[in-house]
Symmetry: D2
Subunit: 239 residues, 4 copies
């Protein structure tokens, strides 16, 4: 039986500002990418998010980012690789310590936003992230896109790399994501997303992401979960 994970970004508020529908999403997903304070999240939000994830048995991953609250980590930053590695370790450490206080632990890493894209093609930045993960805890999995600089670095470092697909994003004929901003790039119809997820799951993708800021994210996540189960796949965390 094929097993597939469902992941989403949570804990993406800051101070008085709220993030996505974490409470509902954590009732559906099996893995939670928790913001660590560099693009979103503050100590109190992080702790509350870890407590919620722990209570529901959702596995916690570190959603590490460039230091860029003003830009929500969505802007490429030409940071020195050594400084990037240190920033990733800092975030991993902060999240892991808070998770532990809440009786949970961090089991994987998913770079966020512009860093997610950068580790897909930049040898320097992916190497920096790989070095950071390896130095902090070589038992952590790395969630990302297969066949990229990230997966190459993970392999070289002996890190477990878990390939993910996106239920709420369209793929072109070349198998790559249709860039945001192009027509049809975003899938907001739960049924369409659910079908896409089943296709991805049957193709062997180990984790499926539903973006928490996609309109109707909770409905999409629920439809995806149901369809995967209906299609005979087991929905369970990978880590």
């Amino acid at each position: 039986v094929l097993t597939v994970d469902l992941n989403s970004d949570v804990g993406e508020g800051f101070g008085v500002w709220v993030g996505g529908p974490d409470d509902e999403l954590l009732g559906v997903v099996t893995s939670a990418n928790v913001a660590c304070g560099f693009h979103a999240g503050d100590p109190t939000i992080i702790r509350r998010t870890c407590a919620m994830a722990a209570e529901r048995g959702v596995v916690i991953g570190a959603q590490v980012s460039y230091p860029d609250l003003a830009g929500f980590g969505r802007r490429f930053l030409d940071i020195e690789p050594g400084e990037l590695a240190d920033a990733v370790i800092y975030q991993l450490a902060a999240l892991a310590g808070i998770a532990r206080v809440e009786g949970a632990e961090v089991r994987y890493v998913k770079p966020h936003g512009a860093l997610y894209h950068a580790v897909g093609h930049s040898p320097q930045q992916s190497a920096a992230v790989g070095a950071a993960i390896h130095a902090f805890d070589p038992g952590l999995a790395w969630l990302g896109i297969a066949g990229t600089a990230a997966s190459t670095v993970a392999e070289e470092r002996g890190l477990r790399f878990v390939a993910e697909g996106f239920a709420d994003r369209a793929y072109g004929d070349d198998g790559r994501l249709v860039p945001r901003g192009q027509p049809g790039a975003l899938i907001t119809d739960p049924a369409t997303a659910a079908r896409a997820a089943v296709t991805l799951g049957r193709a062997g993708v180990r984790s499926i992401c539903v973006h928490s800021d996609t309109p109707g994210a909770v409905a999409i996540a629920r439809a995806v979960h149901r369809s995967l189960t209906d299609a005979g796949l087991t929905v369970a965390a990978f880590a």
Copy 2:
């Protein structure tokens, strides 16, 4: 034989801005209060500071602070106790994780600046810091002034409280520090500081602080270390 520790603040730069004479101080002190990024310190500085401390066998403590880079943590912030506790855990976790990567570990906590003063008299803020330390690692010692709210909370929490004295600050007849800004509050003469340190050490103070931003801090620290040794005390970390 009496044993006394020598502590100083290190890692207090940020980005391009340098802090104190860490390299030289770490050659003299036995305990290093490492800034965790909230009043000073960034991931790269923290990592480098931990590496330097580890290399020289200096024990690492977490110098936790209000979130206030612009004010260097020297301004009282009326933060909610729960949020303060979370902020302290975040800092402890970040520093502990980086220290571990460098082969070291965090063994004690010393609140910084305005928080140092606040935990001396505010029941709420001292309780928050105590809760944070206890939640993160009840084996951590708490460095502060004896007979304050901080020491009371530490006792209630079952945390080891270590009393410190200041070699470079004058004490009034009431046994309290002469406030900064008053004439003679700051002792910059190494010989005078050294004599004061011997008096403190003989009185049973377990750790002596030399502020890294006192003019001539390195000379003071060296004079203090030498005088303590000459007076027959053992200079060694408490943690």
Copy 3:
């Protein structure tokens, strides 16, 4: 005929995080307290907010704050008066320059959050804010609570002080606000708030605040505006 102003806080998002219902509020209020980037607001949000206010003929005021994005300016900060004055000038200048680019101008100042309360009782902090306003533009009005340190300083500085009341907050028998957190402190029923506003307006209060984060703020503002007009008062900006 009595004239009364209606003011509300706007521009209180940051980066991807949204603030209140600015678009709708700016269709009702006559004065907009625009966040300047220290507790909320970033350059793009500030510019867009100024453009919206200018387009609708809403008068712009500077909602100056302690530097505290993480705490939304709601936490008292024991900042040096000189540094507070400089921070206020920086915010006034930034907002005024952006407003000018959008064809508008800043006509008054309303301290935000914890600073609003501090200037009500702290002689040092109110003096600092008064010095800043006077230095930047002595023609700016100061919006606040009558009979406080703020109004005293304004008088001493020769600044126009405009007294405000709150439609969505209960007043005790002593004429002071019932503290937030106490039962009944917050008024969320539009009709009740509207009646309170009419009472305040008839009592000579020159500006009435509807908090943009009170649940149902837009409905409250609309009810207040309608009731004031129905009661024969003229709703118009004070500056």
Copy 4:
């Protein structure tokens, strides 16, 4: 008689952290590039720096930057052009308002660090900076490298562009700066820098920059000033 300006970066501290030798530099240069708070500088430092410049009759320029205190504005940030323009206006406005309070005014703009380089080659980012300067005050001059995207945009916008050269940096045979990090890129010998400055001044370069963080910056600036004068050039601000 040829006239040449001498410019340097000042006000580049933050909070307790000090920047360069501003006091001495402001006694030598004719134009001061004042940091606006995004890569360095805080309200108090900005005000003090403006006061010092005003007292000595040094012309003030705005040293605008990416929002990146942690990286001192030296890291490329892929910010949206519209957001960059807004950020530049915010900085110009803040500095101009503070300068006015100190009896001075901002007369030119010099992008800082990575933004300085980006406006040299990025059509989008140079257009954004040009739009910001034009919107805020089309009378401001733009200081940068001749023959770049920056000078092109300035011309299109009708902004005065002032070409600068560097006394403390080596130029290759192609007339371009030898990249930092390559051997000989930095000139720290005052006499060598002074000769280079005379050559630049005679070639018609209107402003010569001495970096405030080059070792011996003050001695270099003094030597450059003296040599220019000895060579019969007039040292005076361009704005």
